[in-house]
Symmetry: D2
Subunit: 333 residues, 4 copies
């Protein structure tokens, strides 16, 4: 008899990936998957990759979920708080949405609007002390996809005093699944194949989360939509404080992190190498001409950037080995 797990908002891309991971998890029993407009439909009508999974979407209401030991919330930003408040404290909750990530209510209001639901334990286990905090929590706010990619590259360097926390410049490109499953003309295959384009330039809602998680005090963040279904490549540059080798700092920070791989010198991350996995690949160098530190990270935005990360948090909350049911190996080519 396994741990009873439910997913709210299971019809989106992160939701589908959660279902795949839960179905393959040796300790989890998938007891419910809810959806809004697709309630009543078979899960496989929305997620054909799950052919063989015999389950029908339920409606997203607390009654459907309260019976589970652990609930994943994969709802649009702003919809988690109400639902979470209606669940018993005994039910562990991992929220993949942004609702409970920010400590700063003003930043929430400015970037998301509406009342702030308050912060939960921040679900990025690779941050110092965070594994223990997550293990002790019953409510965890899982990290956003761009924040995972940027924070794993940058946070150790700022923490070690190796780079200045101001003048951080990040350009991060994401596959299209990061933009969700809603049918929008600018996300049609005809539009995105063969195309690169930036969006929300100069004011992306992930900035306050990244600053909070990394300790950066000034952050220029430009997201780019890339012609691939999955993956984030974040190019993070900052000004070094001295001569510390950024590779040494990263190697030390992630010595015991099973999902973060500092690549051998000279090898640079490929997003494709992380597809379907919960891995983050990192490499760093110092720019010959400008003297800036450049760290590049690659993740699967639905893996370590969403569903994989959420399962990793759940494992910790439940006292399971962090890696249970997760792969470090990407599906490539």
């Amino acid at each position: 008899m396994g741990i009873r797990v439910a997913v709210a908002g299971a019809s989106g891309y992160a939701g589908g990936e959660l279902l795949r991971l839960i179905a393959g998890h040796p300790e989890f029993d998938l007891v419910a998957a809810t959806a809004h407009s697709q309630a009543g439909q078979p899960v496989t009508a929305v997620h054909p990759q799950l052919a063989g999974l015999d389950l029908v979407f339920g409606a997203t209401d607390p009654a459907t979920l309260a019976d589970a030991d652990l609930v994943f919330l994969a709802l649009p930003h702003g919809q988690s708080a109400t639902l979470a408040a209606a669940l018993p404290e005994t039910v562990r909750v991992v929220d993949l949405g942004a609702d409970h990530r920010l400590h700063d209510a003003d930043a929430w209001a400015r970037y998301y609007g509406g009342p702030h639901a308050g912060a939960w334990t921040y679900g990025l286990p690779e941050l110092p002390g965070q594994r223990a905090a997550i293990a002790a929590a019953t409510r965890v706010a899982s990290t956003g996809c761009y924040a995972v990619a940027t924070t794993l590259a940058l946070a150790p360097l700022i923490a070690a005093g190796a780079v200045f926390p101001a003048d951080v410049v990040v350009v991060a490109a994401s596959g299209t699944s990061g933009a969700g499953r809603a049918a929008k003309a600018h996300l049609l295959g005809s539009e995105v194949m063969g195309d690169l384009s930036p969006y929300k330039v100069g004011a992306h809602q992930h900035v306050p989360e990244i600053k909070q998680a990394t300790g950066a005090t000034s952050l220029s963040f430009t997201p780019v939509l890339a012609p691939m279904p999955r993956g984030i490549l974040a190019t993070v540059t900052a000004v070094p404080t001295g001569d510390a080798d950024p590779r040494d700092v990263l190697a030390q920070a992630y010595a015991d992190a099973p999902f973060v791989h500092l690549l051998p010198e000279g090898a640079w991350p490929h997003t494709a190498a992380t597809a379907g996995a919960n891995s983050c690949h990192l490499q760093a160098a110092v720019d010959v001409d400008a003297g800036r530190v450049i760290v590049v990270s690659a993740i699967d935005n639905l893996g370590k950037g969403a569903a994989g990360q959420a399962v990793q948090n759940a494992n910790l909350m439940l006292g399971l080995p962090e890696t249970t049911g997760l792969s470090v190996y990407g599906v490539a080519p």
Copy 2:
């Protein structure tokens, strides 16, 4: 102490996928991976998606492999026979190459050239009686990727007498990993993205294998290279003998096959839904105008078309449940 498994020819795409599956298999211990020109290099230098796998390619010689309980051969066509002959009978062997698939030495000579190595037990467990044959064998010739996709769609219809074995027309499109990892100009990303093109039209080497496996007596087979890394979509048409519903025939044939999914009526296969999995998705209809039966199948050419299939065969040979270490769920989107 697990089953000791080795892979010969592990630097190619099928080899890389085998390593990924073996590393995640609960009963297998990966003891050796050999390669020709990359011998001595870390596996991750060739397969960055396996970051975290601490293994160096060995040379492809019998001494390296003889110590394993089971060896997968993922060598270029024509190179398996000599190596296999040098391995002790006690070592189980699954050959992903074409060398031991054909019963007809003439067909081998005509399509591949050189001496025929003789046929092994044919490794497509979903064919009638084949699970038992594979379980009893120590040498299994795993099915070719196009042959898997076509045979699963067609063989039950011919066997049931629902379609005539002559006048079978197949057009099958494959992702580029099916063409291998050798650096060739026509396989460059710049060439294949945005492009569809047929190849080996009128004389593809998989024709004799497909005829042997399906019972077709006349087969027009046109392969097409498609702009995606993985996946085969086979469109198989044949002339019905009567009014049998092809869906009924397929449903009955695969009632107990865990990896073959006949989709609900009206849903057609998507190759993306099988990516990274060992699944085959099927659908069938009768053409309103022409009266032909049309069956469409989708697989991952590296999954059910190569490495997944090979592991499924190995599981059967070793007395393990057929599904051990294999996923039925695709990594999509």
Copy 3:
């Protein structure tokens, strides 16, 4: 002072390509572009590739169009007839929709529904006698994209008696722009990249048009959606009547056709090689095993399959050289 040209339904993909071709046509003055929901918006808000074209979408009504010398209709199927009837006879009209292609009112009713608007001169100049018919017409029904690809491959063989008109099997894969610009979830980039999937299997609405244009009496036609923005690759197979070389038949049929290229023996068509051009590339062979004739054609579905073809028809109607303002060279890689 050039020829005054207008486009009705210019906000779709074929409409955008028409605008690009008209803007570069040495004899055309673009005087109006109409759209339904985008009326009042700048053309470049919908078609960013036309940056520099200073034009606002008008509403799609006869008053806007009646002032032109020639009007292209790029409207959804079923909407051309009413609009065309409201235009003066002196205005030449090229319809890219299906409304006026079919002679058979029953076939129209069966595949499209609604009343049949009656057939116009069929706009495929490469059919015998059709150049003269188009030159003499003031109303031309331009060919559908799948019909162009299939007819150019097949019609000469049937006309020459080289293949039987029954038992024709076609599998044709199209880029996503063929499915239009409406925002639908199954056409999202996340869904189509890495994916091949058939649709409308067994009953595609292009079947009656293809039969009419080619003389085929029985046609199995399976369309497939391919992960690329543009291009159609049609694999056409039929049973030969004798020993005629299909290449000879095609070479003779297109000796004077500037846009149809029979490739050198052994070279097979690539859709990418036709991107942005009005070309059709062809190759043929006889299948060694099955004895069927296989002809493969490649076009750009928005070029020779839609906008390019329409401009070619317009050139003929206006007494201009057929090739004016059109390219035979593709934009590749």
Copy 4:
């Protein structure tokens, strides 16, 4: 009788695009196309998109080229100087290679190695005064693809004193054709589709050219390989000196530049919108959090980044309108 034009190194991607543009140019007669290993082969064997162009590659020697009025050199870096030196002064030469771009011999030696051939007139017509210089020259060094994208975004801001020339950070992603046509494993379609990866991080050879062309004194430049055949998206950030609106500066700089389009406020560049064209699309904003100026530019690396740019330079050298034979409209979707 047109202007006699030849292309040396016509078998690569930039060479193929040059042939396409020359074949469609109303004033040019293509008299020769040379290639190294493909000499003697039909041009269409290498460039199937040029089907219909009846030309055979010649050998790359001065005798073949000396007879032309204008020669384009599309050779690997380091091979232009010797060939150019052997051509009569009366033959105008546009070099698409890097050999004659840099004024600084040390920078050449450091990034390219070997002796420096000396600088020619720099072929970026949109720089102040450069149109006249190009028109007066018989030898022009056409700009590199990354340099075009970065310089058009940045140079006017530095020239106007709107941003500081130090602390410039650029992340620029390119389609795969920028990496050339040589068959390399890491450029296979299987590797690049679905993948983003940086390369030459911290020390790219385009840095000195970009510094020279823009006036930047410190430049962090990270190139990324993107899964598309064509296109460059450059994200350029710098520190503003005051409150000048970067859009005003760009609007004024390019008021008379037919190929550079500052997009309407809020619209950001798409590489796909420039495919096949000689356009550059620009947009700028000031980052809310970091206060940096962000300018994003999109070009077709083979168009405004190579062959289109070269034809634009040739037009100026020959006294033709700058836009002759070039399109401002992209082939999209």
